[in-house]
């Protein structure tokens, strides 16, 4: 099962390749523009081809991610999916209040995190032991903040607020707050076996 580490590796490779390509393009352009040669207008067909490419790229990015990132369809259709387990979490005065000291999750469970803020806007993120992010959402007071997530790797995870809520809230971290067990695979980065 694809997790956020895999997705972010994919993004890193694609974006890095793009950065290298655009640096080369600009370098070659800057070099050639100062060289002697006949000045000529760029043919219209190149412009329209480029415009078509941009339209295709802009429209296809989200189709590709919808079909390759497993949590996207889950998120969009979460109202129609029944969770295996639900955790109701409240946040107030810059503290997370969990239903138990550690949230235990079985492998393959579809888990609903229902987080309510009683005062400010916060964030709710799950992080591996090496601080890499599993997922996050905003926690807006007076509104529903629910996230459905399917777990496929063993590990102990930290909860951290991913939104600034004033200088009093910069250390909103609950260490080892979530434990996933029963999988054949352990969280690739820093998950505790």
């Amino acid at each position: 099962m694809t997790d956020s580490t895999t997705v972010l590796w994919g993004q890193t490779i694609v974006y890095t390749a793009y950065v290298v390509a655009i640096l080369i393009v600009m370098g070659v352009f800057a070099y050639n523009i100062t060289r002697d040669g006949e000045s000529s207008n760029v043919k219209d067909k190149y412009f329209y081809t480029f415009a078509g490419f941009l339209i295709l790229l802009g429209m296809s990015i989200h189709v590709v991610t919808y079909n390759t990132i497993p949590w996207t369809p889950t998120d969009v259709h979460r109202g129609d999916i029944t969770a295996d387990k639900e955790f109701a979490i409240t946040v107030a005065d810059h503290e997370f209040n969990l239903p138990s000291e550690q949230l235990a999750i079985d492998c393959g469970d579809m888990v609903l995190f229902d987080v309510t803020s009683e005062d400010l806007t916060y964030g709710f993120g799950l992080f591996r032991q090496d601080n890499s992010m599993m997922f996050q959402m905003q926690v807006v007071p007076g509104n529903a903040n629910d996230l459905l997530w399917e777990f496929h790797r063993n590990g102990v995870y930290n909860i951290r607020s991913t939104e600034y809520s004033g200088p009093d809230g910069y250390q909103m971290i609950v260490k080892n707050a979530v434990q996933v067990s029963g999988c054949d695979v352990t969280a690739s980065d820093g998950g505790v076996e």
Partner: protein, 549 residues
């Protein structure tokens, strides 16, 4: 000339501020104060970079004065606002208040109003910066409700002063908006009657839009040059943004005033998500509206000035500017992809699909500018050309980075990480926007100073490379940390991202060195006497842009 003579009188004594028109002086005042505020933001940024490398010495009480956690978040709040309003707004408004009359071949509508724009924005920026520095009012620029009215963390008076500073900036902005549109449409004394309505239609893109449905022979000609059309359309977003920010400021101010008089208003009266939509709609008119439109307009202008040729595919360029304006009104939801109560339809249509149009509109502006330059080869690699290419590269890097995070799936692991603020925001602003502005500054320097000669080309070259490498490097290392889970808007105490932050700090230092080189070069060009002379009253006619030969 000795070093001392050059420092005092400028390079070869070529700059004499007494020959300048009031409009030249006013424009340079905008530029100088804008660059000073850029230095504020750059130094603050460097402080935060050092903080991110090792925050421990800062938080141990008494070890470093004025550097606790509250100070850090105070800086974090002021830094982007000083950068955008104090620096970018002043640089852009100053340049456009000169360029619109220059390109329209008539005087600025109101010199007084332009002066008021300068001093309202300068005063307002200094007020909120000083308030943040002293009182540590720190709700960040996003002002997520009800944080700006959280009086357990912030004193209402400090908040009220901060918001008043922002409001002054917005009033100055409103003066700019009025001046730009009036200048486009009015008939100056002694000029033949000008078609106000038709000029405005052309500036806003209505003429071009109607032309799309007409045969070529029946199409109306564009009455305003392409860069003026870009300025006008960006100014529409500037106006709407000022209304939203001013409105939000008044709302927050009401809570503060009531609190100061001992009556606490309920923050739950305002729906936090609705507020977030309203505020991001307005705020995004800067990031995804006026910045992109003004930048595209400046690219076209610079390409035209550098090559002396018409902009390639001019009609498409105009249409793309109009599309960008409409797009800028409908993309705000990409900032709310992680807000689970935000309707899915808004996330998909506004957040993903409409946002993808920015790849198209900005991509076309990129291509059109390069094609215009290509048509005039061989070109000399002047400072304005190399900085223009740097600016183009900056947006070529930053826009796709933004498109990636404006995706429901990727946003789940990118939102509020250093990825957002590094490869997207800082590369867009520091490399894309700032290098474009530097291109305009290098071009306008001899025009505005009546022929002052740049002190050192070697220093200008250093300025270029240090800024380019520093800007891209900082964004890249922040981005790498972001992909490893490093959040923005927080502090890490255990050296979790130490290597990335050291490399980002070195890149930041390079940016600061670039700024120092630029300032040194400019001071040595115009001399201290000349620099001070710019702030002395000019006896010339305020209606003259350049001295009469």
């Amino acid at each position: 000339m000795t070093f001392k003579d050059t420092l005092i009188d400028g390079n070869q004594g070529a700059f004499d501020h007494k020959t300048m028109t009031p409009m030249q002086k006013l424009t340079l005042r905008f530029v100088i104060i804008g660059v000073v505020f850029y230095a504020f933001a750059a130094i603050e940024g460097m402080i935060m970079r050092i903080y991110q490398v090792d925050p421990v010495p800062f938080i141990q009480e008494g070890s470093i004065p004025l550097a606790g956690v509250d100070q850090y978040f105070g800086i974090l709040t002021a830094h982007p606002l000083v950068g955008i309003f104090g620096s970018t707004y002043l640089l852009v408004f100053g340049a456009f208040l000169f360029l619109v009359p220059y390109l329209m071949k008539k005087p600025l509508w109101s010199f007084k109003l332009a002066n008021l724009t300068l001093w309202f924005i300068t005063g307002g920026t200094f007020l909120f910066w000083a308030d943040g520095f002293i009182s540590h009012y720190a709700p960040l620029y996003t002002l997520y409700w009800p944080l700006p009215a959280d009086f357990d963390q912030f004193h209402p008076l400090s908040g009220a002063i901060f918001i008043t500073g922002i409001a002054l900036v917005m009033v100055g902005t409103a003066f700019f908006v009025v001046n730009v549109f009036k200048t486009i449409a009015y008939t100056p004394e002694g000029f033949p009657k000008q078609p106000s309505k038709e000029l405005m239609k052309s500036a806003l893109g209505l003429t071009g839009f109607k032309n799309l449905w007409k045969e070529r022979k029946k199409q109306k000609e564009h009455l305003v040059p392409l860069p003026v059309a870009a300025i006008a359309r960006g100014t529409v977003d500037t106006a709407l943004n000022a209304v939203i920010i001013l409105g939000t400021g008044v709302l927050i101010l009401v809570y503060m005033v009531f609190e100061l008089f001992g009556n606490s208003l309920k923050t739950t009266t305002i729906d936090a998500l609705l507020y977030k939509n309203w505020f991001w709609w307005g705020l995004d008119l800067i990031a995804d509206g006026l910045v992109l439109i003004f930048v595209a307009g400046t690219w076209y202008l610079m390409a035209n000035l550098i090559t002396g040729k018409k902009v390639y595919m001019q009609n498409i360029a105009r249409a793309a500017l109009l599309v960008e304006l409409v797009v800028s009104w409908t993309v705000w939801s990409h900032h709310l992809l992680s807000d689970q109560s935000q309707p899915a339809i808004l996330k998909i249509v506004s957040g993903e699909m409409v946002t993808a149009f920015e790849l198209i509109t900005q991509g076309l502006a990129f291509f059109i500018t390069l094609a215009t330059l290509w048509s005039a080869r061989p070109l000399k690699m002047t400072n304005e050309l190399k900085f223009l290419l740097g600016g183009l590269l900056g947006f070529a890097l930053a826009v796709p980075a933004g498109i990636l995070q404006a995706d429901i799936g990727l946003n789940r692991v990118l939102h509020n990480t250093q990825w957002v603020i590094g490869p997207h925001v800082h590369v867009a602003i520091l490399v894309g926007l700032t290098m474009t502005l530097y291109s305009a500054i290098y071009y306008l320097l001899p025009v505005l100073t009546n022929g002052a000669k740049l002190y050192s080309q070697k220093v200008a070259n250093f300025h270029f490379w240090a800024h380019l490498i520093g800007g891209i490097g900082m964004g890249a290392f922040m981005g790498m940390a972001g992909l490893q889970g490093m959040l923005r808007r927080t502090i890490y105490f255990e050296g979790e991202y130490f290597i990335y932050m050291v490399l980002a700090a070195i890149s930041g230092a390079l940016l600061l060195a670039a700024l120092a080189a630029f300032l040194y070069n400019i001071v040595m060009t115009v001399g201290l006497k000349g620099a001070l002379g710019i702030f002395q009253r000019s006896e010339g006619d305020v209606k003259e842009l350049l001295p009469v030969e």
